[in-house]
Subunit: 472 residues, 2 copies
Amino acid sequence: MEIIQDVSAQGKSPSTARISLVYLLLLVVTIGCFFGIQHLGEQLPGQAAAVSTTASTPAAPSRLHLLPQVLLALIAIIVTGRLFGAACQYLGQPRVIGEVVAGIALGPSLFGRISPDAMTFVFPQNISPILGVLAQLGVILYMFLVGLELNSGLLRARAHATVAISHASIVTPFLLGAVLALFAYSRYAPAGVSFTSFALFLGVAMSITAFPVLARILTDLKLDKSELGVIALGCAAADDVTAWCLLAFVVGIAKSNLQESVRTILLAGAYVFLMVAVVKPLISSWLSSRKNTDLSSRLAAWILVAVLGSAMITESIGIHAIFGAFLLGAMIPHDSNIAASFRHRLEDVVSILLLPTFFAYTGTRTQIGLLSTTSDWYFCLLIIGVATAGKFGGTVVASRFTGLDWRTSASLGTLMNTRGLMELIVLNIGLDLGVISPILFAMMVLMALATTVATTPILQRLLSLRVEAASQ
Amino acid sequence: MEIIQDVSAQGKSPSTARISLVYLLLLVVTIGCFFGIQHLGEQLPGQAAAVSTTASTPAAPSRLHLLPQVLLALIAIIVTGRLFGAACQYLGQPRVIGEVVAGIALGPSLFGRISPDAMTFVFPQNISPILGVLAQLGVILYMFLVGLELNSGLLRARAHATVAISHASIVTPFLLGAVLALFAYSRYAPAGVSFTSFALFLGVAMSITAFPVLARILTDLKLDKSELGVIALGCAAADDVTAWCLLAFVVGIAKSNLQESVRTILLAGAYVFLMVAVVKPLISSWLSSRKNTDLSSRLAAWILVAVLGSAMITESIGIHAIFGAFLLGAMIPHDSNIAASFRHRLEDVVSILLLPTFFAYTGTRTQIGLLSTTSDWYFCLLIIGVATAGKFGGTVVASRFTGLDWRTSASLGTLMNTRGLMELIVLNIGLDLGVISPILFAMMVLMALATTVATTPILQRLLSLRVEAASQ
């Protein structure tokens, strides 16, 4: 562009005075002219026929109105998440716990307690769906990234183990949850809910493993690519697919619509088969055939479309959208450049902006204040105990069966016991269905939090033990 | 992690048969147990007291309901945007035009024409606010990136030129717009609108320059860092701030609330001063004091918070949120590592996902079908002519005054004549206020599109001419 600079250098640069004069003249002339035009215009007849001026843009005011609220909410979410996350890192917990707690703290459980008005000011009801969608998009993209990281090779090597462990780690807590239902039904079940739905739901709620949180803990502990990490992710994935199918089944029962739930399970199976049998080979062969290995923005766009599409399919099948995203991610070889660079591009926006929104959104719908009496708190402890016994116990026994050593089994059990936000999603569904009461909901939320917080310290202890054992 | 692998290798790996047996047993036992528990549970008394189960989570159903729709809409937006963008690149136009056209095509003007049902299926009314917020976030982040790229050094060198040109390029189209109002008022002004508001609004609408589109055209033509590019961006920025202040003023008049608009202008001025006089020096000194120059995810999070905050401030002041984002971006030295790496992290999500959403969102609220008679089309052409004469003419004259050569002036005039989506935002506001009628709205949209499409070919011609001139 030297050309222009030369030219402009040659061109005599005008003095400030001259510019200002021109400028002033312009203004005066402008205003003068406008008044002239105005004077002429005032005599003109206005149009008689009334014209609908708002019909075509009904959403405009809402948008102009919503934006500042959304900005404020996002700022509050990010800032709180960062602060709590930093605090957790300081306490030796992975920052994800901090972000989860931050989310709950931003809700009625703490922020709403301190000042309900302030909470409704920062998180007004009308932006809730927007935060919800942002949150969901965040989890979808995040789960895709998790899928991308999944080393399916290592997973396949231990497929038996994975499947057996994951099913054991579903069955045990499921049964214990059902047993718990016997004690909870009379006191905590909402009116007019059949014991069957109640027990089924409690069973499912107990057998959830928080895939995203588990994945983040593994990442934070740099274990996500280790064999333990891979088995854990595999089990958690299998767990979740099973659990969501069970959930679909329970939802079916609760809505007294069996075909619906059977259909969901069949379709889910068919989709998984399609992806593994058809899509995966296609991707692999295409990747190996490609010349340039780097990711163009065009390709990135189409990958994004594929992710959203797969998520939409699973969502419309009836299992959660995140499985479609995760499944597609798992179909792409984790060691391909595409995986690496796509991950690099998305990572920040997801972890900085969208995931905290997901945590906050779920947190704003959780009210712990409902636990009033001591017996409530005892029952809450009982729930935590039963959940841990079922998930941890079941996993450990099964992993021993499949020939893993004690410490790996224990670590696996600890990891699988992580409920986190996934549990909260399930609980919200249950609450919407009216299968559980708000107080039971709150108890289960505490259970989810307790099991999640417990994971890292125990895990670190176990791992250090194993390292010692190995070093001897 | 060799340790685990060793251990697991030592651990006897069990046969498929045994696993399957265990697995089958598990299932049978589970189902058996559950029926047992169920049998016990059926005798239990249900809870009498009714418990509100939905109160605490009002937004859940809407979210579960909205997600698939949003996914579908986003897929449609990205795919259409890519296709139209590719087509435009093939035709030698920058892809942004394609994305703009794609947005309008997805709206009632084309898609809605072909099949209204299909359009309402893909873009139902209830997700409109969500797309709106996504679109706004996209523009905010994009404008921050544009600000980051702004070379304020080069800009300051030509400050006089910039200010004079930008004001000339506002005043001329503003006056011509007001004159046009004399002819449009009786036919196209909605009933019950004072000539003053009508003329003022038309004036402002004529003097808009589409900063984002202009910036993208400059980027696409690799001109964004050239002197021409910098002056154009500077003028466009100045133009827009002025235009939005004028708009705030017009809105004030239309709502017959003068203090409001004066307040807006004063606050905007104060905020800009604060940023330039206080924030900019602070950032520069902090940057120079930093040891490690790379961008941690922690820092990125805080930058994002700052961007959203600045956007929120300008939005609540009354000028559009994007100015806060742009202003903050302009305060950060464009050649710092921070700018580069932050840009690199955001770029893709913004350009692939969010900007097309912005184009589509605005497009869905534009209906060109309203132009029925020939005289309507003639008037539409008149509008295009007047808009171009005002913006292009005004800019060229002023740039000659400030000592730029003919070709640079002409290029600048062509660039400043780009209206693009910014115009559509203004028009939507006018439509919401009832200052212009839907048909005039549609005409102005066509004007915006025409001036935008015309820019690149003319510009390329001018630039090649200049290169030839230089090479002689």
